[in-house]
């Protein structure tokens, strides 16, 4: 069963109350039409239902979200998936800055480009292993202070001269892994990061999430996989362990 809400002109607080009310009735799918800038959609909601968002949802979407599936037919703004615990976000467009801030579970797929500081302080523990897949390019400070999880950038359709990630990539990174489909210059990397070759086990991980990406956005999987990936990992799991206390 699917329910539709026309979000045009509805204040974010009222919209989010209605979303919660409708989801409580147990519908499988809720469609939000004409969303434009309303904040906090999907925040703190547990469940396995689907939210289809037509338009441009506002900042801080899916913060602390726990299990929902969000499909955004449009671009997303800033701070999406802050401390998200579980669920899946599929963005048929670009996303802004600090996507997946401190994310600790679930998956985010962005068809196009993302802004600055994406995956900042993402973390992973045991079975909680968050994933971000970006189809285009990522801005500066990608994976800043990343502590866990997986981030994949595909660099599809990059204009000539465009780099797949910005500068200061992985600054302060001390956990998790980044896969880039393309090259990265040494100067673009934070000093805590090193580039290593992709192994067989990495390809298993990459192919799993790239398959999802290809399926969600209807892009040829084989073609994406034709270009080689590099792997970025931190040198040290605790680079600042002795910063204040020297034992």
């Amino acid at each position: 069963m699917s329910v539709v809400i026309d979000a045009k002109g509805i204040y974010y607080k009222d919209l989010n109350e209605r979303i919660r009310e409708v989801l409580r009735t147990g519908v499988n799918e809720l469609v939000l039409d004409n969303v434009n800038g309303q904040r906090y959609i999907g925040d703190g909601i547990s469940g396995s239902q689907t939210l289809v968002i037509n338009g441009t949802p506002g900042n801080d979407m899916a913060a602390y979200m726990d299990g929902l599936k969000l499909i955004i037919n449009g671009n997303a703004q800033d701070a999406i998936g802050n401390t998200m615990n579980d669920g899946i976000i599929i963005i048929h467009g670009n996303a802004g800055d600090t996507l997946g801030y401190a994310m600790r579970g679930g998956e985010i797929y962005v068809k196009g480009n993302v802004g600055y500081r994406v995956g900042i302080h993402m973390k992973g523990y045991k079975d909680k292993n968050p994933v971000i897949v970006v189809g285009g390019r990522a801005g500066d400070f990608f994976a800043e202070y990343m502590a866990g999880g997986i981030q994949i950038v595909l660099g599809l359709d990059l204009p000539p001269g465009e780099k797949i990630v910005g500068d200061f990539c992985g600054t302060g990174m001390h956990g998790g892994v980044i896969y880039l489909r393309g090259e990265v210059e040494e100067y673009q990397l934070g000093k805590e990061v090193k580039v290593v070759p992709v192994e067989e086990e990495d390809l298993i991980i990459i192919s799993k999430y790239v398959k999802n990406y290809a399926e969600f956005f209807n892009i040829d999987y084989q073609e994406i996989m034709q270009k080689p990936f590099v792997k970025l990992i931190p040198y040290n799991t605790r680079p600042y362990g002795n910063l204040y206390a020297k034992y």
């Binding site: 703004q77 800033d78 800055d97 801005g139």
Partner: protein
Amino acid sequence: MLKEGQVRIPAGCAISGIMNKKGEVFSGRDIIKSIAVMHDRSNGLGGGFAAYGIYPEFKNHYAFHLFYENKKVKQETEFVLNKLFNIELAEPIPTRDVSSIGKAPLIWRYFAKPKANQIQANETEAEYVVNFVMKINSELEGAYVFSSGKNMGTFKGVGYPEDIGDFYRLDEYKGYIWTAHGRFPTNTPGWWGGAHPFSLLDWTIVHNGEISSYDANRRYLEMYGYKCTLQTDTEAITYIFDLLLRKFGLPLDSAINIVAAPFWSKISRMNPEQQKLMKSLRAVFSSLLINGPFSIILGSTNGFMALNDRLKLRSLVAAEKGDNLYIASEESAILEICKNPDKTWAPRGGEPVIGLLDGKESLYCFDETQEEEVVRHSVAL
């Protein structure tokens, strides 16, 4: 009441701007709708607008907008104004009652031309106007010139921006450039002068962020006669651009590379010629580096320029549709008034978005008509 500088105000804020590159004018309705989408980026303690092209009947007059706390200071200010300027028209700025807007100061505007015999031999007309603005704002307690350009004006106050726009009846004005600001100070003296835009001559600045280099910037500006009376970072940013673009006559890209200077690591990867320029700019104008998070829109008669700090610590989105250029803190604020932009992009840190009117090559043009104006005055006198 405590004013700016007597209390600390960290800011959140929203900004938005629209321009038509052909110079076609449109009502203030769009910019109000745009900034209203970002309602929750501000908290009702400051909102304001800048509009260019709104006073075609007085396009060669300076349009001074003033706040007065009382009638006495109004009288004192008008005494100075009359001494230095020929006033063509003086009137209260039309407003309408808006329930959410609290007690407003007296708000007046004056269309005026400088008295040529008062301008010093070594002083340009723009300088003369700047000195007048600095004098009123620093010496007359309770009077504040918040707009001093030609064929443009700023409108601001304490309230949510959409309510301030309604209060000033901006739907009744038509301009070819509009910028807007919604303010989120967490602690405020609630003074109307503290709202954005900050303005001097035709320059206006709306700003989201907080500048940690304020004192370094201020000390440098004071050497050139600027008086940072409001002690806010945005006022200083306005004067920095006035100094670099008008007084020093630097090209815009140099000004940008001064305030949002590339990192030394980036400079080291440039070609030798670029390196020389960047190193010189950083060395000579190190005091004008703007440090800390910011996104700004610098408005002028010829267009506008939007800029982020180098680390992009504040959000900024731009879009184009036909002859219109849009810029805002959030994409939704653009989409509210422009359904299907031809192009939408997120500028990088330190990467400007520059919109110039067709045929204009620079943001600065104030002196173009100046010589002629002065001559005409001296004949008339």
